[in-house]
């Protein structure tokens, strides 16, 4: 990360691409014709989901220290704040949908919905909650949990796969191309950090053997 300031053009390019990936899908969703036939709470629920999908992109980037100009302390703090935001957004998303059509949400939560995407969404939701709970236990109660980071990363994989499949299968306010690009970016960001973690794991393993 210390190398970032040496490449100012790269810094600007990364932030510009990131800003586009975060803002453009939300902008297209805001222009969806479907909104005119929806009531406020349903719109709020939908956009909570869209916002969560956007913020999800930042999580692996912050965890891997890939954001230029962000110190590791800042990155950690931001990662935590965004994690909290994801929990809130997921609750607003599911709660808002519940108010809009209770039977559809009950079906989804009980895994008896006719729509496949709701299974992925509900699994991702529980993974988000589990992830938040795990981190809370670790930080607040100094809970010395062996391998918490591996579990956290495992949950992140579930969250990303669940959210991406959930989003892609939905015929909703998000526009297909911008939605796909955002999903692709989230998957790539996750893969990059997984590869990086794997390399670290090997190194630490080698160090231990020595």
């Amino acid at each position: 990360m210390a190398d970032w300031p040496k490449h100012p053009f790269l810094c600007v390019a990364i932030w510009a691409v990131l800003a586009l990936l975060l803002v453009v899908p939300i902008g297209f969703a805001a222009g969806s014709p479907l909104l005119q036939w929806r009531v406020g709470i349903y719109i709020l629920a939908g956009f909570s989901g869209v916002a969560a999908m956007s913020l999800l992109l930042l999580q692996p980037l912050l965890a891997g220290g890939y954001l230029p100009g962000v110190s590791s302390a800042q990155a950690r703090r931001l990662h935590r704040w965004i994690g909290c935001s994801l929990v809130v957004l997921v609750i607003v998303h599911v709660g808002g949908l519940w108010v809009t059509s209770p039977p559809d949400v009950v079906d989804a939560l009980l895994f008896r919905s006719p729509t496949v995407f709701s299974y992925f969404g509900v699994i991702a939701m529980w993974a988000v909650f589990a992830s938040a709970l795990l981190v809370t236990l670790r930080t607040r109660l100094s809970f010395a949990l062996w391998g918490w980071q591996q579990i956290h990363t495992g949950l992140a994989v579930v969250i990303v796969i669940g959210s991406v499949v959930h989003a892609l299968l939905i015929v909703g306010t998000m526009e297909m191309i911008t939605k796909s690009l955002l999903c692709l970016a989230v998957v790539i960001a996750l893969l990059v950090i997984l590869v990086k973690r794997r390399r670290w794991g090997r190194q630490s393993h080698m160090i231990r053997r020595r």
Binding site: W37, S101, D107, T115
Partner: protein, 162 residues
């Protein structure tokens, strides 16, 4: 050399194979002879309001919901059967009373009701239909449109005597 049965690769391959098989619909239960009764679809009864009135048209129309009602076994068309229809449309939500209406089948067991354009809700452009008159077993259907731009949708009922 020991050979692990549950490797990551085996898990992935088995899981993927199971997913693909279930998605292709290759796994179907054995069918009885004759025309099998239609089973209620998952989520078909969601936002159902019993006793929707028989109407000429729901709202201002523009979209056609149609289908047939037949008897299980011999597949004979059933005339005069009441089919209730509701959906999220350009004029109202699924749960709104004005989004609900019913129609009767003709002598050929065909029903056809004009309603407002269905728009996607909860991730899919879909309609709900119910047979709930008592002579036959209740059936709730939830057909999905191929494209949100479609202006018609069909649903077929095969009813079994109650």
């Amino acid at each position: 050399m020991t050979r692990e049965l549950i490797t990551r690769r085996n898990l992935l391959v088995t899981g993927a194979a199971a997913l693909v098989t279930s998605a292709t619909g290759l796994m179907v239960p054995a069918q009885a002879a004759g025309v099998a009764p239609t089973r209620s679809m998952r989520g078909g009864a969601n936002n159902y309001r019993p006793g929707a009135p028989i109407v000429q048209r729901i709202g201002n129309g523009g979209f056609w919901m149609s289908g047939t009602v037949r008897r299980a076994g011999d597949g004979a068309p059933l005339a005069g059967q009441r089919i209730q229809i509701w959906a999220h449309t350009t004029e109202g939500r699924e749960r709104d009373a004005r989004s609900h209406g019913a129609t009767l089948t003709d002598a050929d067991g065909v029903f056809r009701l004009e309603m407002p354009q269905i728009v996607p809700t909860f991730g899919q452009p879909h309609a709900h239909l119910a047979y709930d008159s008592g002579d036959f077993e209740t059936v709730f259907l939830r057909p999905v449109m191929r494209s949100p731009g479609d202006t018609s949708l069909e649903a077929q009922f095969v009813l079994q005597a109650a």
